[in-house]
């Protein structure tokens, strides 16, 4: 009697676990730490609505690509897009899910947030170590009427491999030939300036810039805002000075016609348009065209569809820019349609 009672209990537990597994799916994803805050917000709302949950590991863009290639996750997320050839070879597709901005931040006595104006050439010469003092004539020329104290410039960069660095160096190689020839772009590069100090993560860069007088670094916009740092204005592709704002990031992405790029593979840095912030980037989501787990892949698409439709406000609250509707329509029509979930 006792034994049969136990058996019934076990059978019941098994039945329960099976039925609950059939009821709710758990998607898995890994990669970019940039997209993590907004993904977790979306996932919370999505779970409340559908009961399906997302397990996302924020391990960095490179790690995300590795995990999706190893098929250990349902989707990977990366700030630097995968090349079209590589996507084709692996039977994958990618689409941008969210947009954000990378901003130069400085620590100069008396310079307030948004006050200092920089051009692409000045910025790349500073990071190349050929422009080494804040009282340089070229900086003064960009900033009439602003008192900039003299001081040797310390360059602060990311020490770890990072999508932020990929976006920043991609911008510099687009606008400056000597940067492109000598340094190039990637998640981690060989920083040429002799005065370079590197920190780990956005936090490390923010901490170093806040501490070291006369330093300049680059962080995601949210970090600059959160830490009250002096971000700079940038001269964009249309030769206009712009402040880093959500509107400027949106303007940069609006000018990008994703449909023109095979596999949507493009950086939206140095985008045209008078209001565009030049160092804007997107986080890309990578999925398989013929996924092993069709139910989960279908759920991933439903999840991002929910994010595009209902997640805009949540994204804006976190200083991200939702994808413009034209782009999300294009993603639905031309990217998701390639994924075999039936």
């Amino acid at each position: 009697m006792k034994l049969s009672f136990k058996q019934a209990l076990v059978a019941g537990a098994v039945a329960l676990s099976v039925s609950s597994a059939a009821m709710a799916t758990e998607m898995t994803g890994a990669g970019s730490s940039f997209i993590y805050p907004v993904l977790s917000k979306w996932a919370e709302a999505y779970k409340a609505k559908t009961g399906n949950s997302l397990n996302y590991q924020s391990i960095g863009s490179g790690g995300g690509i590795k995990q999706i290639k190893a098929k250990t996750v349902d989707f990977g997320a990366t700030d630097a897009p995968m090349s079209f050839e590589e996507l084709q070879a692996g039977g994958m597709v990618q689409f941008p899910a969210i947009i954000g901005g990378v901003v130069p931040v400085v620590n100069i006595d008396g310079i307030k947030p948004g006050q200092l104006k920089l051009s692409s050439d000045v910025l790349s010469d500073i990071f190349q170590g050929t422009l080494t003092n804040w009282n340089d004539k070229r900086i003064a020329l960009l900033n009439p009427g602003v008192q900039i104290p003299a001081g040797d410039i310390t360059v602060v960069t990311r020490a770890d491999g990072s999508g932020t660095t990929a976006i920043f160096t991609n911008y510099l190689s687009k606008v400056n030939k000597s940067w492109k020839d000598n340094v190039g772009f990637g998640a981690a590069v060989k920083w040429p300036a002799a005065s370079t100090v590197s920190g780990k993560g956005n936090e490390g860069v923010a901490a170093n810039v806040s501490r070291i007088k006369n330093s300049i670094g680059y962080v995601e916009f949210a970090y600059a805002k959160k830490n009250n740092m002096s971000y700079t204005q940038m001269k964009n592709a249309d030769e206009k000075f712009v402040l880093p704002t959500a509107a400027a990031f949106a303007a940069a992405s609006a000018g990008t016609d994703w449909s023109k790029f095979p596999g949507m593979e493009t950086f939206i840095t140095n985008a045209p348009g008078a209001a565009s912030w030049p160092i804007t980037g997107a986080t890309f989501v990578v999925i398989y065209k013929k996924p092993d787990n069709k139910a989960n892949a279908a759920e991933v698409i439903k999840f991002f569809d929910f994010g595009f439709k209902d997640g805009g406000k949540m994204a804006s609250e976190l200083d991200y820019v939702p994808m413009p509707e034209a782009t999300t329509n294009f993603i639905r029509k031309s990217v998701w349609s390639q994924v075999d979930v039936k």
């Binding site: 590795k66 040797d152 770890d160 772009f185 981690a188 590069v189 060989k190 100090v197 590197s198 780990k200």
Partner: protein, 329 residues
């Protein structure tokens, strides 16, 4: 009569049983302990093997010159380990140069001169320092120590030691606080409790009669420590220093925070650099399979090798010390 027969005659059945049981117990004990110690060897061989296999593409491409090349360019797939190896060695040497004399002072004070009521709290405080996680040292270093160091101490060092010809180059450059010297100081703080507590423990086992007789013939405290205590405990002291050095060589988190992570070698101690451990910590997560990935493994191999050489040197030093003692007496 009975007693002699039991001692001289055949053992009773019970004694045989006990002896057999003991033999089985002994055999089992032997086998188990041997298995555990062999396990360590197997794990070690496994680590070396996996490091070698993963590092092989880099070693094949760059040759042995990998360890002497100061190029670390991820975009162009050019790798050499010299910058990191240099940073590891220099920061560890700085740490030892500071921590060993300090630990020695602490240990001598605690064992020879400390009043009894202070002994316990001071000793516990030193051991507590060892229990602080390295990430805490890193955060303390970056947010508290480095600013003070860069604003007040480095300028003073530059104005004094920096003026000495030749030596001055060690203290040149901007005073950011972050850099090789800062990393060395934080490391010194981290390894100090290890060395100090080992030294204290071995100093305490010196038989009092030895010290008392030395005092009896009129030795000063300094003479007792250097002529009696140190020679008696040299193996333990070297062991403690090596324990500290081992930790300094492999320390990752704290060093990553304060060393500045620059991929270049600078003669100045104020300049940022990077160590093997900090390079691995920074780049491993994002490294794509290929030369970058295997170069990181090659760096790991280098760290393994450095640690091995250090331990071998320590053993060799101890052996030659014992020999010298043998010749003397």
């Amino acid at each position: 009569m009975q007693s002699t027969s039991s001692t001289l005659g055949l053992p009773s059945a019970k004694a045989v049983q006990i002896a057999r049981r003991q033999r089985i117990q002994d055999f089992l004990f032997h086998a188990i302990t041997q298995f555990f110690s062999m396990l360590v060897l197997f794990v070690l061989a496994g680590i070396i093997g996996s490091l070698l296999i993963n590092a092989w593409p880099a070693l094949k491409t760059f040759g042995p010159g990998f360890f002497l090349d100061d190029e670390w360019d991820i975009v162009n797939d050019q790798f050499g380990g010299l910058i990191s190896i240099y940073g590891t060695l220099v920061s560890s040497i700085i740490a030892l140069a500071i921590a060993v004399p300090l630990s020695f002072g602490i240990a001598v004070f605690l064992t020879e001169m400390c009043p009894d009521f202070l002994k316990r709290p001071l000793g516990t405080a030193v051991e507590l320092l060892a229990a602080v996680p390295s990430i805490i040292y890193g955060m303390f270093g970056l947010f508290v120590f480095a600013p003070i160091f860069g604003d007040y101490i480095e300028p003073v060092l530059q104005a004094t030691l920096g003026k000495i010809p030749l030596l001055g180059i060690l203290f040149s450059g901007p005073t950011n606080g972050i850099g090789m010297l800062c990393a060395g100081l934080i490391l010194a703080m981290m390894i100090l409790p290890f060395i100090a507590s080992v030294m204290r423990d071995v100093f305490e086992i010196v038989p009092p009669v030895l010290k008392e007789s030395a005092y009896g013939i009129g030795c000063t405290r300094w003479e007792v420590v250097t002529r009696i205590v140190l020679p008696y405990t040299q193996a333990g002291v070297v062991g403690g220093v090596m324990l500290g050095l081992g930790r300094a060589l492999g320390e990752t988190m704290a060093v990553t925070f304060v060393i500045g992570n620059a991929s270049r070698i600078s003669p100045s101690l104020f300049a940022p650099g990077s160590s093997i451990a900090s390079t691995l910590a920074n780049q491993f997560g994002e490294a794509d399979a290929g030369l970058h990935f295997s170069s990181l493994f090659a760096l790991g191999l280098a760290l393994f090798f450095i640690t091995f050489v250090v331990l071998a040197l320590a053993k060799w030093m101890l052996l030659s010390m014992e020999k010298a003692k043998g010749v003397k007496s």
